[in-house]
């Protein structure tokens, strides 16, 4: 293997047969190149879909209310169902062992927020600390609401990054006062949200402060819980389904709503959605793997075929070399060493070209459904070695046979 004389002989053979070398290399390199691109975009789609979904927690249940559409127990339709603090507290206590985070929400839509002489309209939301998990919000400066903010009914606010950029520009907003409808709130934190600008143009403040400040009494707009996750995804989905059904019937019972009135009480169960998305992602992955493995097999067959042709073409040469005193194994070894060298070199070239293209083009792609196309380097490298190995194996059998042929017969080969 490390015999310099043999390497000289191999390089001479390769350089004297440039077209053959080039074509072999091209087929291997293009196979690996296509595979890398394919796997990269498969991963990109997976990333894209996953991040689309990551704007909120994947395991929350939320309750919203509206106007009744059906007569029930003597009550007229057209009645607005108003959620109250005690609904939230009752349900939270009842299902405490199945839930993790909890938060009610009281909204003021499109409130005018002022800072010095800057102002804008944003959504104000009174929540509990648990809401951070529901929204998947990440604090980039300061902190989120905590339990003391709630128990002391503090006049504090956590603002979205959009709002921070609009009102504060480059200024550090922490500790500054913003005013909403004449009520001053101290900014304690800035958050970003994977949901993007829409979710970052918001102000979060303690639920009780919001209800007091904006005459909300004990009214709530929506209720939020995150479901406890178990290791088994299907179990979690089942639990989430059960929980959302129970909560729905409880809320309907408390507010005397017909069990089949879908307009008055609405439940969102994201885990159910998540299941669909995850199975979609799994399917996308499976398709790309299927195509990828198909590509590899095609590559292996291609390389094997080329090896067969090369050996066939060189049968006479093998006969000559044997007549001149070459050992059969030295001939097989030389052909294989040559093949492995070419496929390895070309394979790595294809790998680097593919990775390079992904690096170059990946960040330019502006699509919600393809993000950061990338390839697991180890998988790609393994593929190259697999292809080299398969090529060597495919070449070995005919080379071994050719070397076994009696020189007389090989020499007769035209």
């Amino acid at each position: 293997m490390f015999d310099i004389e043999r390497w000289q002989e191999i390089f001479e053979t390769l350089s004297k047969n440039r077209l053959r070398t080039f074509l072999t290399g091209l087929s291997v390199a293009s196979g690996i190149f296509i595979l890398v691109i394919l796997l990269g975009f498969g991963k990109g789609i997976e990333n894209g879909v996953t991040s689309e979904f990551q704007r909120d927690a994947v395991n929350y249940i939320s309750v919203w209310t509206g106007v009744t559409t059906k007569e029930y127990k003597g009550m007229n339709p057209g009645r607005f169902i108003q959620l109250k603090n005690h609904d939230f507290n009752m349900l939270s206590d009842k299902y405490a062992e199945y839930t993790e985070e909890k938060s009610p929400s009281y909204f003021v839509w499109g409130a005018l927020v002022n800072y010095k002489n800057q102002s804008g309209n944003y959504r104000i939301q009174g929540v509990l600390p648990g809401y951070q998990v529901v929204e998947n919000a990440e604090i980039i400066n300061g902190r989120f609401l905590n339990d003391s903010d709630i128990s002391e009914i503090r006049k504090v606010a956590v603002i979205g990054n959009r709002l921070k950029l609009d009102l504060f520009k480059d200024e550090d907003p922490i500790g500054k006062q913003i005013s909403i409808f004449g009520i001053n709130l101290t900014v304690i934190g800035v958050f970003v949200d994977p949901g993007g600008e829409r979710d970052e143009a918001r102000v979060y403040m303690p639920i009780n402060t919001a209800q007091l400040a904006f005459n909300g009494n004990d009214n709530l707009n929506s209720l939020w819980w995150t479901v406890k996750m178990s290791d088994n995804f299907d179990d979690a989905v089942a639990l989430s389904d059960r929980l959302s059904q129970n909560i729905e019937s409880d809320v309907k019972q408390m507010h005397t709503v017909a069990p089949d009135d879908t307009g008055a009480v609405r439940i969102f169960n994201t885990l159910d959605e998540a299941k669909k998305i995850y199975s979609l992602i799994d399917k996308i992955k499976a398709v790309f793997w299927f195509v990828g493995i198909g590509t590899i097999i095609a590559g292996i067959v291609g390389v094997g075929n080329i090896m067969l042709i090369i050996v066939r073409e060189r049968t006479k040469e093998i006969g000559i070399r044997k007549a001149l005193g070459a050992l059969p194994m030295s001939i097989v070894g030389m052909i294989l060493q040559e093949a492995v060298f070419v496929t390895m070199f070309a394979g790595l070239f294809g790998l680097i070209a593919g990775l390079g293209l992904l690096e170059l083009v990946g960040p330019q792609i502006e699509s919600d459904f393809i993000k950061y196309p990338q390839v697991n380097f180890n998988i790609a490298l393994t593929t190259v070695f697999l292809l080299v190995f398969a090529g060597a194996l495919a070449g070995f059998i005919p080379a071994y046979r050719a070397a076994k042929i009696k020189p007389v017969i090989a020499l007769r080969d035209e």
């Binding site: 004389e5 000289q8 002989e9 001479e12 053979t13 004297k16 047969n17 006479k316 040469e317 006969g319 000559i320 070399r321 044997k322 007549a323 001149l324 005193g325 070459a326 050992l327 059969p328 030295s330 076994k404 009696k406 020189p407 007389v408 020499l411």
Partner: protein, 233 residues
């Protein structure tokens, strides 16, 4: 140099068996220039292939330079071929992507000689056959006679005990054939043992001894007065 006793060889093709060599006995001394003659199918090429260890006999004994050639495995055969024998073929059998010089140097590669020395020795033998100016050319750029000269240089390069030539002039015109035979005579003059298989009488007359083969047996074996090639040209 070569002793052969009661050599038999059959070829099997399906159910048919073809008895090609039916008990050959003969001997070649060092420095001889022998031609083996016979019509096609007489078994002359088969005999040469067995002598060259390119093929194996079914029975009989074969001794080359006092080494009994039997129970050959691939490794041993390759070793003997490389050490004892130089081949000259009718169709030259040069490697088409190697230059004349590299073709001549190839047997030396299998003797494990370093590249620099290989090329020096190859250049020496190429000079001997008068093709120094053509050393960088590919076989496809050479004439038939030149190709056979390269093949002869290659056969000589490994400094074998015996040269085996299978119809060396079979693919050449008369003038070129005589040129090649002149070269072979010259090599024989230097003491090399050479066996030539041919079916051409004028070529056979240029050797020192003619062995006539018919239907797998030797019917005639006689020393002759060698015709020197310049007399023809």
């Amino acid at each position: 140099m070569i002793q052969i006793k009661d050599l038999h060889k059959s070829y099997h093709m399906g159910n048919n068996s073809l008895h090609v060599l039916k008990g050959i006995d003969f001997e070649v001394k060092e420095g001889e220039l022998v031609s083996i003659m016979g019509s096609s199918g007489s078994g002359k090429s088969t005999l040469l292939n067995i002598l060259g260890m390119l093929d194996e006999a079914d029975s009989g004994s074969y001794t080359l330079d006092n080494v009994p050639i039997k129970n050959l495995n691939e490794k041993l055969a390759a070793n003997y071929r490389n050490k004892f024998l130089g081949f000259i073929f009718q169709s030259f059998n040069l490697i088409n992507y190697k230059s004349a010089l590299d073709n001549v140097a190839l047997p030396l590669y299998y003797q494990g000689i370093k590249r620099k020395e290989r090329l020096e020795r190859a250049a020496h033998y190429l000079d001997k056959v008068g093709l120094t100016d053509w050393s960088g050319h590919l076989p496809s750029e050479l004439s038939g006679g030149q190709k056979q000269r390269v093949a002869i240089a290659r056969a000589l390069a490994s400094e074998p005990k015996v040269l085996l030539a299978d119809e060396p002039t079979g693919a050449l015109d008369t003038t070129t054939s005589y040129g090649v035979m002149e070269l072979i005579q010259g090599i024989n003059d230097e003491g090399k043992t050479i066996l030539v298989v041919t079916h051409e009488h004028d070529i056979a007359q240029m050797t020192k001894r003619i062995v006539n083969l018919k239907d797998g047996v030797i019917i005639d074996d006689k020393n002759i007065n060698q015709v020197r090639t310049p007399q023809y040209v």
